[in-house]
């Protein structure tokens, strides 16, 4: 029986069957894990019965009733919880090839820090910039960002802390900013910080970085909390599958941070073998559309953007109905 998520009783679980509302809303909510097939638990309602808090993909998310009404669920009978696994899954072995690292051998490494809000990104930044030469705190037009630089193993590392985002769509000024920064400033490497206790949702942003075809190193942050949950991750294997090196860190205590930056240097020196360009496999029809859009995109003149590199990302964005990416073309 279909009921609205807002009507789900406290403590009850339900499987998402349908998400109504406009494209923008569905995208926003999908980034946080509300997609069909996923199990949600209603945790509580705020004092005035609105908004409600829901447990989805390991995170507590607050939704107003007007929004929760747009999500339809079937109640899961007690004792049959399936740990929120998405029923349909596709093999993760995407096609891949060697990734070209921009200008190897350079002595200044520009690193862009991205990650979900609350993933400990700022802790990584603060710890790394402890030996800071300079920390600048920009509060730009709509977003604020910090910058620090330091030296390691003969390299000058410049670290830019970008605003925390759940995805790289153009839903908020922050997301747009991060996206533009990555594509126009072309940092040498993206440092993607993940909250290890919410891997599935945090990796959603990573899939967009994969689409973007930029070199990435992942910091598996809050690894101590993750281990305390008695969870175990074969992160080397995961890294090989995604073509991205994974380094466990506990940024709050400064653990794993130097290993993280050593890994970044290795990637720049092209000594890291797991680095590959992986294509996330989409549905056949979508792949066909992506390919034909990519062909056309690569012929387009764009002043500031490396179109060849980002063509797959652009094609996916276009198919998602996000036409703002076209603003970069003349």
């Amino acid at each position: 029986m279909l009921i609205k998520l807002s009507d789900l009783k406290k403590g009850d679980r339900g499987r998402i069957e349908r998400v109504a509302g406009d494209e923008r809303f569905r995208k926003r909510i999908a980034e946080l894990g509300f997609v069909t097939g996923v199990e949600v638990e209603s945790i509580r309602k705020a004092p005035f019965k609105d908004p409600g808090a829901y447990l989805v993909k390991g995170a507590h998310i607050s939704l107003r009733n007007t929004e929760a009404r747009k999500i339809e669920v079937t109640i899961t009978p007690k004792g049959q919880e399936d740990n929120g696994k998405n029923s349909k899954f596709i093999s993760s072995h995407g096609s891949s090839r060697k990734m070209d690292i921009p200008s190897p051998g350079k002595k200044v490494i520009e690193i862009a820090l991205v990650g979900n809000p609350n993933c400990g990104k700022t802790s990584v930044f603060n710890y790394a910039s402890k030996s800071r030469e300079k920390v600048a705190n920009y509060s730009g037009v709509t977003v604020s960002m910090k910058e620090a630089s330091f030296y390691m193993d003969g390299y000058h590392l410049r670290l830019v802390d970008l605003p925390g985002t759940y995805s790289l769509s153009a839903h908020s000024p922050e997301e747009e900013y991060v996206r533009e920064y990555l594509m126009k400033k072309n940092p040498d490497i993206v440092l993607n910080v993940l909250d290890s206790t919410k891997l599935e949702r945090n990796l959603y942003l990573t899939t967009q970085l994969i689409d973007m075809n930029v070199p990435v190193v992942v910091a598996l942050n809050m690894y101590d909390e993750f281990r305390n949950q008695k969870d175990y991750l074969k992160y080397d294997k995961l890294g090989n599958m995604l073509g991205i090196p994974f380094v466990p860190t506990i940024a709050k205590k400064g653990r794993g941070i130097s290993a993280l930056f050593k890994k970044i240097i290795q990637v720049i020196e092209q000594k890291e073998e797991s680095v590959r360009q992986v294509n996330i496999p989409y549905n056949v029809e979508i792949e066909r559309a992506i390919n034909s859009l990519q062909d056309q995109l690569q012929k387009m003149p764009a002043a500031e953007i490396n179109v060849v590199r980002y063509s797959r990302y652009y094609a996916v964005k276009l198919l998602e109905g996000d036409f703002t990416v076209l603003d970069n073309f003349s």
């Binding site: 998400v19 809303f25 995208k27 926003r28 999908a30 997609v35 069909t36 097939g37 509580r44 004092p47 005035f48 908004p51 808090a53 390991g58 995170a59 507590h60 607050s62 107003r64 929004e67 740990n83 998405n86 349909k88 899954f89 596709i90 993760s92 072995h93 609350n118 802790s123 603060n126 705190n137 730009g140 839903h171 908020s172 922050e174 206790t197 891997l199 990796l203 899939t207 949950q229 008695k230 175990y232 991750l233 294997k237 995961l238 599958m241 709050k252 496999p281 549905n283 979508i286 559309a289 859009l293 056309q296 996916v316 276009l318 198919l319 998602e320 109905g321 036409f323 076209l326 073309f329």
Partner: protein, 471 residues
């Protein structure tokens, strides 16, 4: 555009083939990819961290207790900010006085000495002495943010704030505004959505900050001795009502209807390390100092110069007379007649017709101008102009005694009208500077400036003229 056409055709084609939209299919495939990868690599032990957070939330976001708990925490924060902060504030005040007295004796007589001892030190000092308060406030905010409690406060008050078209996250910045509007505007950074952030910023100036309190105390103790708490309460309430109405008005007029969905993560509770809290506090404090330092210095010098020049012949004699006080350790005091003839005095008199319908005399008009950098300066200007001794009581009485004939019977009304104007008009220069920086929009800042002053004028006009009918 050709490419957009092509993309739209593909989307329509795929939408037709499947029950789900193209965009949803892409999202599903992304999650499917992640899931496939995790099935092969992740072994879950099943002990979720969230269980502990959930138990804490059973209390902190409880249906009945959460709001009283929240307000107790906030009251405690304010109590510590102003009670403990009071000591270093007093030390700083005496330090500034000492420095000023010392410099007054050391520096050779002349414009430069007056600039330093009458302009820069009192101007910068008036704001700098609040630094201990600000640091303590930032310390608490950083702690509450880092533990994850701030997100819960947004969760429990969202329903109330939503009625004014605001977001639960707007609540904390507005509360901080009662302490000082500048950190309040900085606190709006936690609001991700630009619409809500601008809206919150533009109503913060109506929240009565602590710098306005001296003005209220002065007038209330002089004119409303038997109504003290009620009058004070009505002032704060007026500010809150104005903020509320403005949020609704701006929300309807200046933004389109598409509100971003209120989706907010409630992060698990964490005990932050002291180092992290101090680091966050320090980032905020340093930003505050950087933003405020230059602006306050600049504004103090300008206002000082306007009150100092021109140094005419007829009253320059009086200044030298007055400087005999200096050996006692006092700072040279500006003569009322000097202010009256200065540029700012002339300006105050010149714009007096604008304020006359509100019941203000020219002295009050002048003090409104000198209060632009910081509203507590209004009190000291009135003191100088009415030649009052120190202390609120004395200033108030001096003010009372010098009323012009026509206002005699409406002194309470006039005082109330002036307090309302002080509450609502032109947020201080520091607030505007930070608003300009944080909103990134000069137009928005100017709009807020003009709007608040207009609202102040209209409200005071209605109060004075409306009240005059009954008195």
């Amino acid at each position: 555009m050709e490419l957009e056409e092509k993309a739209r055709t593909s989307i329509a084609h795929i939408d037709n083939l499947f029950t789900e939209s193209t965009s949803d299919l892409i999202t599903d495939d992304k999650y499917g990819f992640i899931e496939g990868a995790l099935i092969e690599t992740l072994v879950q032990g099943g002990q979720k961290k969230h269980d502990i957070s959930r138990r804490i939330d059973n209390v902190l976001t409880h249906n009945v207790f959460s709001l009283p708990l929240f307000f107790s925490i906030i009251l405690l924060v304010f109590y510590f900010t102003f009670s403990i902060g009071g000591y270093p504030v007093a030390w700083l005040e005496s330090l500034f006085d000492l420095a000023n007295g010392g410099l007054a004796r050391l520096l050779p007589e002349g414009i430069f000495r007056d600039l330093v001892t009458q302009g820069i030190i009192p101007g910068v000092g008036a704001v700098a002495v609040f630094l201990p308060n600000i640091i303590i406030l930032f310390l608490f905010i950083s702690f509450l943010e880092d533990t994850g409690y701030m997100a819960r406060t947004a969760f429990i008050v969202d329903r109330i704030m939503h009625r004014a078209g605001l977001h639960g996250k707007s609540f904390i910045p507005l509360l901080i505004g009662f302490g000082c509007n500048v950190p309040a505007i900085m606190a709006t950074r936690t609001i991700e959505d630009r619409r809500n952030r601008l809206l919150t910023m533009s109503i913060i100036p109506f929240v009565s900050c602590s710098a306005r309190l001296p003005v209220y105390v002065l007038f209330i103790s002089a004119f409303f001795s038997s109504w003290k708490p009620l009058v004070l309460f009505s002032l704060y309430l007026t500010g809150i009502i104005m903020a509320w109405l403005t949020a609704i008005l701006f929300g309807k007029l200046l933004f389109n209807k598409t509100e971003t969905p209120f989706v907010m993560e409630l992060p698990p509770y964490r005990l932050p390390t002291p180092k992290a809290i101090f680091q966050h506090m320090w980032f905020k404090t340093w930003y505050f100092i950087k933003k405020m330092g230059g602006v306050i210095l600049f504004a103090s010098v300008i206002i000082w110069a306007l009150g100092y020049f021109p140094t005419g012949i007829e009253y320059s004699g009086k200044i030298t007379e007055h400087e005999e006080v200096i050996p006692d350790g006092n700072v040279p005091v500006r003569e009322p007649v000097q202010i009256e003839n200065s540029y700012i005095g002339r300006l105050g008199k010149w714009i007096h017709p604008i304020f006359k319908p509100l019941g203000f005399d020219w002295k009050m008009s002048v003090s409104i101008l000198t209060g632009l950098p910081a509203k507590e300066i209004i009190v000291s200007t009135l003191g100088v102009l009415y030649q009052a001794d120190d202390g609120f009581e004395a200033k108030g009485n001096a003010f009372k005694g010098s009323e012009e004939e026509i206002f005699k019977d409406r002194s309470m009304l006039r005082a109330f009208s002036f307090m309302i104007f002080t509450l609502l008009y032109f947020p201080c220069i520091g607030t505007l500077a930070v608003m300009r920086k944080e909103s990134g929009s000069l137009r928005w800042t100017l709009l807020t400036l003009g709007y608040t002053t207009l609202v102040a004028w209209i409200t005071s006009f209605l109060i004075f003229q409306g009240g005059s009918i009954f008195v």
